[in-house]
């Protein structure tokens, strides 16, 4: 038995035989040609053939996978019409060298350009250059197209796969993909997602001939590829696989269904998102809204503050995609533990209890005002709500509301349209939970952040693995604070939700319903699981 670790791009489990998809590695040999004119024509006609193949691939993918996934072949065709690329090849031919070699020179030159870019998406485009070049070289050298030839469905293992190779494979014959190279941004990963096949990329292993035909397991949940598993492990994986498929089928049927218990109690079930890209998954999982839109992604991984315009576009996109469903945006929640150099935050002994989140926003209102302006402007495009993190006092809310009032007044004077925006707070400090009766008088809703609430209540650092056993998320102190917060919120007629990890803990779903929690917000992957737990009560 051998176990390899890869990066999972599609979750799921597959058990089957390995099919080593080996490329017909044609090495373009450098030879001299006398008639460069004829060689140029040979190249041009190969490009025409390649473009015809791509048109067929495009139409095939259009039927099977839809326009979005088919587009890549249209792009490939356009790359083959790119003058810079064609000129690069012709220049080498003009030196008296053969077409195959000339294409491989252009391939290296352009693939290198993309590979050296500091952007993961663009890096992955080197594969497109290699794909089109390989296509032309194979036509020139008279090599047929590759495919997989097998009777039973197999686990396809390869060094790397190009989009056209992936699309051409008969989906009925594939159980999973495992590649040595590739990134989660590669088209292969995207296609694997659309086919919903368990897949690993960037798997650390050396491909060997003897792997071919061996029984293996792909565990897309844990990013593991196990070759020749021992009998007990094999049996365990088969039962996990069957369970996964049964769960999947059961959960799929819950799409479009209400979040209602057998005795008729209803609850809102929303999704947490961390960027604009997560919205599709939330919609796909049939979430009733966005219960926590972490706005940090706008600030991380860059050198300067995001502009109002840029933030506005992101919020607007999410609101439009959610089409009237509620989107609760949490304002900046950053502290010294996050690497945002341009904030110029002093290193701290204890960043979790330090200068962070709303404390920064109230201390540097210019950052806060930019974000609020962007959210209020976007509010015209859907149902936006705002929540503020790390609140410990009524005074903070009063100061926030003053700033919000000024922002709204100014936007109105500037002629912007705005929607109705609910204002709420995260209840994630014990202080906020204890004075929730007073805080409830000032806001439209509470969202309980159980991760921080647990850490602060139990005085347990979540990052410290030694304390894992002490960090009891079901600790009665935490549960009592939640219960108290819900009751105090309801006394003032406001709704109360939970958006921390605990919201997805189905052992507690019943407890939360009994407490009267109005909304649970969980990751998209957990929406249907929690819906099932609610419906089972």
């Amino acid at each position: 038995m051998k176990k390899y670790i890869g990066k999972s791009v599609v979750k799921g489990i597959a058990v089957g035989r390995i099919y080593w998809y080996k490329k017909q590695n044609y090495e373009a040999v450098k030879t001299e040609v006398l008639d460069t004119e004829a060689e140029r024509e040979r190249f041009e006609s190969a490009v025409e053939t390649a473009k015809k193949q791509l048109t067929v691939l495009y139409e095939d993918a259009l039927d099977r996978l839809g326009e979005e996934h088919a587009m890549i072949f249209e792009i490939h065709k356009m790359m083959l019409e790119d003058e810079d690329y064609l000129d690069a090849v012709k220049n080498v031919i003009n030196e008296g060298l053969n077409g195959e070699y000339a294409v491989s020179v252009a391939e290296e030159q352009f693939a290198e350009m993309f590979a050296s870019m500091d952007d993961e998406y663009m890096k992955a485009r080197a594969a497109d250059i290699r794909d089109i070049s390989k296509r032309v070289i194979n036509i020139l050298a008279g090599i047929g197209e590759d495919g997989i030839h097998t009777d039973e469905p197999v686990i396809v293992v390869a060094e790397d796969l190009t989009p056209s190779e992936t699309v051409k494979m008969d989906k009925e014959k594939i159980l999973a993909f495992v590649t040595v190279k590739g990134s989660s941004n590669s088209h292969t990963a995207i296609l694997a997602r659309s086919m919903n096949l368990p897949s690993l990329v960037n798997t650390k292993m050396e491909l060997k001939e003897e792997m071919n035909g061996k029984v293996a397991v792909v565990d897309g949940f844990n990013g593991e590829f196990i070759v020749e598993p021992e009998e007990d492990i094999l049996q365990e994986m088969i039962s996990r696989k069957n369970q996964w498929i049964a769960d999947l089928k059961g959960l799929e049927q819950l799409k479009g269904k209400e979040n209602v218990t057998s005795d008729g109690r209803k609850i809102n079930l929303y999704a947490n998102i961390g960027s604009v890209n997560d919205v599709d998954a939330a919609l796909e999982a049939d979430a009733g809204g966005i219960g926590l839109f972490r706005s940090e992604f706008l600030y991380l991984g860059r050198n300067d503050y995001p502009s109002e315009e840029e933030q506005f576009e992101s919020y607007k996109t999410v609101l439009e995609k959610m089409n009237g469903k509620k989107v609760i945006i949490r304002t900046l929640d950053i502290g010294a533990d996050k690497k945002v150099d341009y904030f110029k935050l002093e290193p701290e002994e204890n960043p979790a209890m330090g200068y962070r989140a709303i404390r920064i926003c109230l201390d540097r209102p210019e950052i806060f005002i930019t974000q609020l302006r962007a959210i209020y402007r976007a509010s015209a495009y859907g149902t936006a709500a705002i929540m503020f993190p790390m609140i410990v006092s009524v005074n903070e809310i009063i100061r926030i509301k003053e700033i919000v009032g000024q922002v709204k007044e100014k936007l109105l004077a500037e002629g912007f349209r705005m929607g109705e925006v609910e204002l709420g707070i995260m209840v994630e400090t014990p202080a906020a939970a204890v004075i929730s009766d007073e805080l409830a008088k000032e806001v439209d809703f509470f969202s309980i952040g159980t991760n921080d609430l647990t850490q602060y209540t139990l005085a347990v650092d979540r990052q410290n693995q030694k304390l894992e056993s002490t960090c009891d998320t079901h600790h009665p102190a935490v549960l009592r604070l939640i219960e108290m917060t819900v009751a105090n919120g309801h006394k003032e007629g406001i709704w109360v939700g939970i958006c921390g990890e605990l919201a997805a803990d189905t052992e507690l779903t019943h407890t939360f319903l009994d407490m009267g929690v109005d909304e649970l917000s969980v990751s998209a992957a957990n929406v249907l699981k929690v819906r099932k737990a609610i419906r089972d009560i």
Binding site: E74, M78, D119, M122, R125, S307
Partner: protein, 85 residues
Amino acid sequence: MKEFKKVISDPVGLHARPAGLLVKQAAAFKSKVTISGNGKSADGKKLIMLMGLGIRKGMEVICRIEGEDEEAASEVLQKFFEENL
């Protein structure tokens, strides 16, 4: 010469799909189209170099159009940028 600016708001930036569509739009006009951003410039009718600019979300691009049909081209391209990027 016509010129306009746009801050890219597409989350992935000037990626393959919009770059491909942009080249198609630009190729329909006789005018020379130059796209600048991220400290580099590229011919708006050449897909690979255009993608090679590495334009990401939040960056400002300048589109310059020069030629006999620059008026019409500028209008079409500006609309394209507003709607797609």
